[in-house]
């Protein structure tokens, strides 16, 4: 519309301004403005904007997937850390000199002396003793179960974390020696560790 004007003499629409050839089209210069016959430039601008929108959509999509994967990975890592922590505490308990089976100074692996365990349980009932063992066992509950031949349970250490939301349990089979009868019973060390995320 802006590019044409109606001739007063002939009544025919003529291009306004100076007409110059640019490639295959006649470009009408009106003032400083280039005026095309079609809306091609507008379409091309829309295309560019659409491409940018799609590109940013893909980036947002990829970021969401990556965030979800990272979140799952962090949860798995936390679970693995708690598991390793529980296992470390269980191994420390099974190898502690206060509980181990020993004969003439030689320590037997994977074995707990039931007489030592009973005494240890009495000691850790006191707050001072629990504090001194906190470095070894942290926030955990350690129970020695005897499964065969008789069922028996001894609470070795109990230091629960109040309002703990992550609790992990580990069960380790262990021999329970009775040095008075010279017998080895089948037992299990149950360790619960507590953590807050």
């Amino acid at each position: 519309m802006m590019c044409t004007k109606k001739s007063k003499i002939t009544g025919i629409e003529k291009p306004r301004g100076i007409v110059q050839k640019a490639g295959t089209k006649n470009v009408v210069l009106v003032g400083r403005m280039l005026c095309f016959g079609s809306k091609k430039s507008q379409i091309q601008m829309f295309e560019s904007v659409a491409i940018l929108v799609v590109f940013f959509f893909f980036i947002a999509f990829g970021t969401t997937i990556w965030y979800g994967a990272q979140k799952a990975s962090f949860a798995q890592d936390l679970e693995r850390t708690l598991e390793s922590n529980a296992l470390a505490i269980a191994l420390r308990a099974s190898h502690a000199p206060e509980l181990d089976c020993s004969l003439l100074g030689v320590q037997r692996q994977e074995c707990i002396d039931i007489t030592k365990a009973a005494q240890f349980a009495n000691i850790t009932l006191q707050e001072q003793a629990r504090l001194s063992y906190f470095e070894l066992f942290g926030f955990s509950t350690i129970v020695l179960h005897q499964l065969y031949p008789e069922n028996l349970s001894v609470l070795l250490y109990n230091n629960q974390l109040s309002n703990a939301t992550d609790i992990h349990a580990t069960f380790l089979p262990i021999l329970v020696e009775d040095p008075n009868k010279n017998t080895f019973s089948f037992g299990m060390l149950e360790v619960h560790t507590y953590a807050m995320p």
């Binding site: 499964l147 089979p173 009868k181």
Partner: protein, 166 residues
Amino acid sequence: MQCRNKHSKTQGKGQMEIMGLAIIIILVVLALLFTLHFVRQESQERSIPDSLMANMFVSTYLDTTVPDCSNVRIKDLLKDCGQSNSMVCPSGKTACQQAEGVTKRITSSYEKILHRHFNLIIQGPQNLQAMSIRVACSGERESSKPFIVPTIGGTGITVRFEICEK
């Protein structure tokens, strides 16, 4: 001439746009494959506590003494059962019977606390294999190393423990 040039230019642009779309799709597929690769890698890692638990079960089981049989170890009961089955416990049971009874008691008590399925596999002479505890594992399983109880004649007894996935 002008029409042919116009058509070839449009065709060229269309091809470029399709190539661009194809590149984007390839990039998205590569990103997905990359993510899947890392996720699968994590799930294939072994569970150290389970493998340790399995090994400790077998060593504890074999060294457990049986009060009903003069405090003989289960290992020795299995050995006698696999060889001659000549041992008779004060309770009147043979080594095989005593070993079977003790194995069932231990495994049932263990399962009640653990709340997971497991297999105790005893390989050797026929009468020993019947003592194995086998349960079908739905997923993956973690196995102990094979514990070998040597017997006379060279044919050892192999004891293995498998714990099923949580």
